[in-house]
Amino acid sequence: MNESTQQQVFELIAKQAKIEIATIKPESTLKDLGIESLEAIELIFDIEEHFNINFPDQQGANFDSDTAKSLVDAVQKALDDKAAAGEGSK
């Protein structure tokens, strides 16, 4: 699969928000897309499960104001960190 990280994250957002994937813009906040409070925490969980990553704890973080792009960037960083850690241990 060569599906980009962005495509996969957007699919997860679309599923959580129950919207068409085409309506998601990189600059859309989760709140813009109708994802608030517990739904945002649920989306973070879905993304972690999908990519098998752990986002760093962001106590008190307001995920509602995160943009779709910032989530994609966070996923990419977590994937890169994981890959680097994997190489380091070889």
């Binding site: 409070s37 925490i41 969980f45 752990n54 704890d57 008190g60 307001n62």
Partner: protein, 410 residues
């Protein structure tokens, strides 16, 4: 005036097991000295957990110290805490339940958010983790939510209305209100009530981690750098009596439980509403016959989450108007952590101490003011001041609010 005669309700005994030690006095002395019960998480799986801190009952707590060895195998950790605290409270009250059939006229209402989580966790591990075919035969009697209330009833021969109350983080306050109502309206002459929780289990810790509301440094209520709540555990148990009953036997009265307010936000399952909390505080004042100006101290819910502390501040302003700026408000969760269904009970120990000793316990770890939290939170150091009447706030996930109003002993 109500059409039925209402009896006044007083508190004549208190007991506690908390992160600040064994006994209500250990808890109160710790709080007034601003000591923290928060420390590194003690748990067999601590290495692989993300959460690193908790407010746990000290490791030296020995359940066998004053519980019959035949009873011990039947107890989850929640019931161990509750029975110890009940023993302390009942001893202090001096009540003899065998005298004049008082046991028949005594209720037991104990709040707990979940009940036997330790038992649930242990047995799930056996079944799913170790593929055991057999659960322990005492699993059900240990984990049932009413186990603490029932064990207290059995230990002391208390045959009045006995049950558990569950409303997450407001469980203890809701339970105490239930017990007070029964005395007020003549359904019981005395009641054993409070809250208990033992929630430091692998499953529960993982669930709280996933919610992303746990602080990684410490609990800093109302401070702009607050990073969430710190899980706690323990129990607070109290003896309530009708005032005439207590006075007739010459009991020492610790405080009067003068009124209460209960509301539901009916908005969001986790995000608190200032209106719901404010209306519970207003109800508590009216029920106790207090004006805002009569109140000197509020023991806040004050969890240390971004959402709670700012919303609670707005709610106090809504309920108290200009007098809000004259109130001392503190969150003792900064020291004993958030014991969920027991938290209102641990906080009632703080409230009784404040009324009795004229000392308001501080909000620890408040080092950077938050513009959204602009009340007098008694930062870091206890304050000697006259304390005539107090509110004690508990607000729960589920949007449930339960507020106690207390006055000095008459």
């Amino acid at each position: 005036m109500p059409t039925v005669s209402m009896r006044r309700v007083v508190i004549t005994g208190m007991g506690a097991i908390s992160p600040l030690g064994i006994g209500a006095e250990a808890l109160w002395q710790g709080l007034r000295e601003g000591r923290s019960g928060i420390g590194p998480l003690r748990h067999p799986d601590a290495e692989r957990l993300r959460v690193k801190i908790a407010a746990q009952v000290p490791a030296y707590f020995d359940p066998a110290a004053n519980i019959d060895e035949r009873v011990l195998p039947m107890l989850d950790r929640t019931s161990e805490f509750a029975l110890h605290a009940a023993s302390e409270a009942i001893t202090q009250s001096g009540l003899d339940f065998g005298r004049n059939e008082l046991g028949v006229r005594t209720a037991v209402v104990v709040g707990t958010g979940v009940g036997g989580e330790t038992t649930q966790d242990e047995q799930s591990k056996r079944l799913y983790g170790e593929n055991s075919q057999r659960a322990h035969p005492l699993t059900i009697v240990r984990l049932m939510t009413n186990a603490s209330a029932s064990q207290i009833s059995i230990a002391y021969g208390l045959r009045g209305p006995t049950y558990a109350v569950a409303s997450a983080c407001a469980s203890a306050n809701h339970a105490i209100i239930q017990a007070a109502m029964m005395i007020r309206y003549g359904m019981a002459d005395a009641a054993i009530t409070g809250g208990t929780e033992a929630c430091i289990t692998y499953g529960a810790l993982r669930a709280w981690e996933a919610m992303r509301v746990l602080a990684d440094d410490t609990c800093r209520p109302f401070s702009v750098n607050r990073r969430g709540l710190v899980l706690g555990e323990g129990a607070g148990i109290f003896v309530l009596e009708s005032m005439e009953h207590a006075q007739a036997r010459g009991a020492t009265i610790l405080a009067e439980l003068a009124g209460s307010g209960m509301t539901a936000d009916a908005t969001d399952i986790v995000m608190p509403s200032a209106d719901g909390a404010a209306s519970a505080m207003r109800q508590a004042l009216a029920d106790a016959g207090l004006t805002p100006q009569d109140v000197d101290y509020i023991n806040a819910h004050g969890t240390g989450t971004l959402a709670n502390d700012a919303t609670e501040t707005r709610a106090i302003r809504l309920a108290f108007g200009a007098h809000a700026d004259r109130l001392a408000v503190s969150s003792t969760k900064s020291m004993h952590g958030h014991a969920l269904g027991a938290s209102g009970a641990l906080e009632l120990v703080a409230v009784i101490g404040a009324l009795r000793d004229s000392v308001v316990p501080p909000t620890a770890n408040l080092d950077q003011a938050d513009p959204a939290c602009d009340l007098d939170y008694v930062p870091n150091v206890a304050r000697e001041m006259p304390v005539r009447a107090v509110l004690s706030n508990s607000f729960a996930f589920g949007g449930l609010n339960a507020v106690l109003a207390l006055k000095r002993a008459p």
